[in-house]
């Protein structure tokens, strides 16, 4: 399968950079899989898991992301996320803190649109938690 360049960047560091065969991205309108030759495209993210398959069947890697956005361009796929961690580094405390933040976002929301978004995020997080910590 053709490979393309993928970068996962968080404010604190460059989390991943390299050639990949495919990346599954949790876009705000639903998950999508980015492959080589994808048309230019930009979307915001919801909390979820990024699953990437490295070039040449070297196995899969999963990353936990909170808000951010993905940008597919000629240079490949770039994801900027507020929080981006390898799944192995995500623990109970992380979820507790993120869920608490999501709850305050719901109460702080300035209008109904934002509140709906915040509630969606909270539910997404709760779902992720059950997925990763059964």
């Amino acid at each position: 399968m053709a490979a393309f360049h993928f970068e996962l960047v968080s404010p604190e560091r460059l989390v991943f950079s390299g050639k990949v065969a495919s990346v599954v991205v949790p876009g705000i309108m639903g998950e999508f899989t980015a492959l080589a030759g994808q048309a230019p495209f930009m979307t915001t993210l919801r909390p979820g898991l990024i699953t990437l398959e490295e070039e040449g069947n070297k196995g899969k890697q999963q990353f936990y992301v909170l808000e951010g956005f993905a940008d597919v361009g000629e240079a490949g796929l770039t994801i900027l996320a507020d929080v981006a961690l390898p799944v192995s580094e995500v623990d109970e405390a992380r979820f507790t803190a993120d869920l608490a933040q999501a709850e305050t976002d719901i109460t702080d929301a300035p209008d109904d649109d934002f509140r709906l978004l915040a509630i969606e995020r909270r539910d997404q997080l709760a779902y992720l938690k059950t997925l990763l910590r059964p």
């Binding site: 970068e7 960047v9 968080s10 404010p11 604190e12 560091r13 460059l14 876009g27 705000i28 309108m29 048309a39 230019p40 495209f41 930009m42 979307t43 915001t44 808000e67 956005f69 940008d71 361009g73 000629e74 770039t78 900027l80 507020d82 929080v83 300035p110």
Partner: protein, 293 residues
């Protein structure tokens, strides 16, 4: 004329001081390396963010319903100055140069008849500004307990600023920090956060924007990116500041150690001289006493 014992004590105390400054210099050097790495690691994110925002802002433009964070709320009366300084002193002119820049800006704004509000990040800036602008300082954010600055810390400040903006507490927001150039060179910088200043068409995408798909719409993406950008810019400022602080402290402590070395040299010379003078005096007394017999 100080006695020999006084001189000895003085030399000992300067030596002790020199040891402290030397240790501080070495600690600052080690911290500087880490702070520099952190500042560099944050760069790709901020750069990408700038590019994306610039291209989005060019597409959405400055229409009527453009987000307030991008074009401002149409007023220019109340200015919020976010002054980022260190939590600790002993780092040369680092804190005072940032505070001076902020003070000059505040004074010129006041002279124009504008209102000024100050948000202090870091205790030292607060100490320096509170005498003149005591009633204008709305809050002091203490990062003393924070070991390594992360996105979380910047996000807290960013949310605070956004809430103030939403409540109409200010119209224009500027952040003051020190840009890290080299160990010897830090540049106090003022950067406007709200409304956003974007580089126009500088990094415009080569492909016509219509080829790009946006999900959700451009406006919505921009609306979610703008608040995040505030936090990112604050994070960048804090990280640059952290590196600058350590750099400034390193060079300040280096010159302090050198000064202490010079002082030790001078005082040792004086000590030796007066010891020699005393020996000579005693010899003369003995000789003249023997001659008198």
């Amino acid at each position: 004329m100080p006695s020999l014992k006084d001189l000895r004590n003085r030399i000992a105390s300067v030596k002790a001081t020199q040891k402290i400054t030397k240790a501080m210099q070495m600690v600052a050097a080690a911290k500087l390396r880490r702070a520099q790495l952190a500042a560099e690691a944050a760069r790709p994110y901020a750069e990408r963010m700038d590019q994306v925002l610039a291209s989005l802002a060019n597409i959405v433009g400055g229409g009527q319903d453009a987000p307030k964070l991008l074009v401002g709320n149409g007023r220019d009366q109340v200015h919020l100055l976010v002054v980022c300084t260190a939590e600790r002193g002993l780092c040369g002119a680092f804190n005072s140069s940032i505070a001076r820049l902020a003070r000059d800006t505040a004074n010129s704004l006041l002279a124009e008849g504008k209102d000024v509000k100050i948000l202090c990040v870091g205790k030292k800036g607060h100490d320096l500004l509170k005498r003149q602008f005591g009633e204008k300082i709305i809050e002091l954010i203490d990062l003393r307990s924070v070991k390594t600055i992360g996105f979380v810390n910047a996000d807290v400040i960013g949310r605070k600023i956004l809430n103030l903006f939403k409540d109409g507490e200010f119209d224009v927001c500027t952040i003051f920090f020190s840009k890290f150039r080299t160990v010897l060179h830090q540049i106090p910088t003022a950067q406007q956060l709200i409304p956003l200043t974007v580089a126009k068409d500088e990094t415009a995408p080569a492909a016509p924007p219509s080829l790009y798909d946006y999900e959700p719409s451009e406006e919505q993406i921009l609306a979610t990116l703008l608040p995040r950008n505030i936090s990112i810019q604050i994070l960048r400022a804090l990280l640059e500041n952290a590196a600058s602080e350590q750099g400034a402290r390193m060079s300040a402590m280096d010159s302090a150690s050198r000064n202490a070395g010079e002082m030790i040299k001078k005082q040792t010379m004086q000590y030796n001289r007066s010891r020699q003078a005393m020996i000579t005096k005693e010899l003369i007394e003995i000789i003249s006493g023997a001659e008198a017999l």
